[in-house]
Subunit: 216 residues, 2 copies
DNA sequence: TAGATTGTTAATCGATTAACAATC
DNA sequence: TAGATTGTTAATCGATTAACAATC
């Protein structure tokens, strides 16, 4: 087992990895065979050495001088590294428009996310299926989560209910939360909260536009 | 004008700012008057000195020894800093479930985002209003964007159409793109692309769960 | 006043970039 | 072989943390 001597994971590298993943898939689709770190760096506006280091950290076979990295292999390596190969079961709480959008998007399986069911408080949306996923009433959360061995709870309820829902999910044995509500959730240490933080995106956008405007 | 000597913006500080913003709004709602950097750091699991520095970078009046920062003032300072006070006009391209979810969410005005219209290719969704925002056919993009002085284009179409839509938006004079499609977009240098990168979130989640699983 | 809390200057840490040797 | 391209070791840069003086 040489695996153990792999470099420790850098947060920044982890953040860049999905960009490499999307980039390589596009290339693969266009039937390229291999690609150099320099070409990737150029297309993604990154530093060449940074790309080399990032790829070296995840690549199983490494790149070949003169040729670069084999695209197919690299895609597989990144998938393995990011854990996209490990399937995690999830439920969505909140079957409003956003919840339905996520329920109907079938691309998450690509990332190992397997959404099995949804929950809602609204009697007009429960007890029916959306994209073959059944919408249960809220009180079923503990039962279904335990039954289906759910790892991830996805929160798409209005901000005011998010903490309440979060507590219920935690009590039902989930281990991570993907939070779309614009609130900060309180959770026990062992639970990971990943905020799909649209406020951050908007901050970066508006900051950027404001700065550009000033320059003129 | 002493404004000019403000410290240059750190990317990390910018990323943390929305968390402070949400945190402070919650406090404000609970009718607190002021708060110390230490208390914030404790609640958000951040380093105290880091919080002091972050707040010092955006605070107009600074904190007061013994009392800390005035919450209301600080919220206003952060809003000003992040550009949430500057209103940016936006359109959504893709009025499917995700697009509709964004159209129906009225909380974006809090961040200075003003969604004025939507576009779609589907004849069954166009020529009607969703949450008082009209859905136009795709060919109206240039006309409407110029007419309404649109700064930001929000892309919520399937991955396969995202680049096409992006090109149209760029040609229609928008200055920034908020991209929800899981693809990397090619744009001219002057256009900012902000990816709402669910793949990153999923990577962090699945990586984290995989690592935890290994530990056991 | 004493003490809590800020803001700033200095020290440490980690990530990026540069330089260069290794290799197909 | 020569040259393109990788991987690694060293240098730089920026961000975090520590130390401490300033102040209400």
């Amino acid at each position: 087992m040489k695996e153990q001597k792999k470099a420790p994971i850098s947060k920044q590298t982890l953040n860049r990895m999905p960009a490499y993943f999307l980039y390589l898939k596009k290339l693969d689709f266009q039937e390229h065979q291999s690609i150099s770190a320099a070409a990737i760096a150029n297309d993604l506006n990154l530093n060449e050495i940074q790309v080399r280091k990032d790829l070296a950290a995840v690549s199983s076979s490494g790149g070949k001088p003169h040729k670069g990295f084999d695209i197919c292999t690299l895609i597989e390596d990144i998938k393995a590294y990011l854990g996209y190969d490990d399937v995690n079961n999830a439920v969505i709480v909140g079957a409003g428009k956003l919840g339905q959008a996520l329920l109907c998007y079938d691309g998450f399986s690509e990332y190992g996310l397997n959404i099995l069911a949804a929950f809602d408080a609204d009697p007009t949306v429960i007890h029916r299926s959306i994209n073959s996923k059944y919408v249960y009433p809220m009180e079923k959360i503990p039962e279904i989560c335990h039954l289906l061995n759910i790892q991830i709870g996805i929160i798409t309820v209005p901000a005011a209910y998010a903490q309440l829902v979060c507590d219920q999910l935690v009590d039902s044995g989930i281990r991570a939360i993907w939070n779309f509500a614009p609130v900060l959730l309180n959770v026990p240490q062992k639970i990971l909260v990943q905020n799909e933080n649209m406020a951050v995106s908007l901050a970066i956008l508006s900051k950027h536009l404001a700065v550009k405007l000033q320059e003129k």
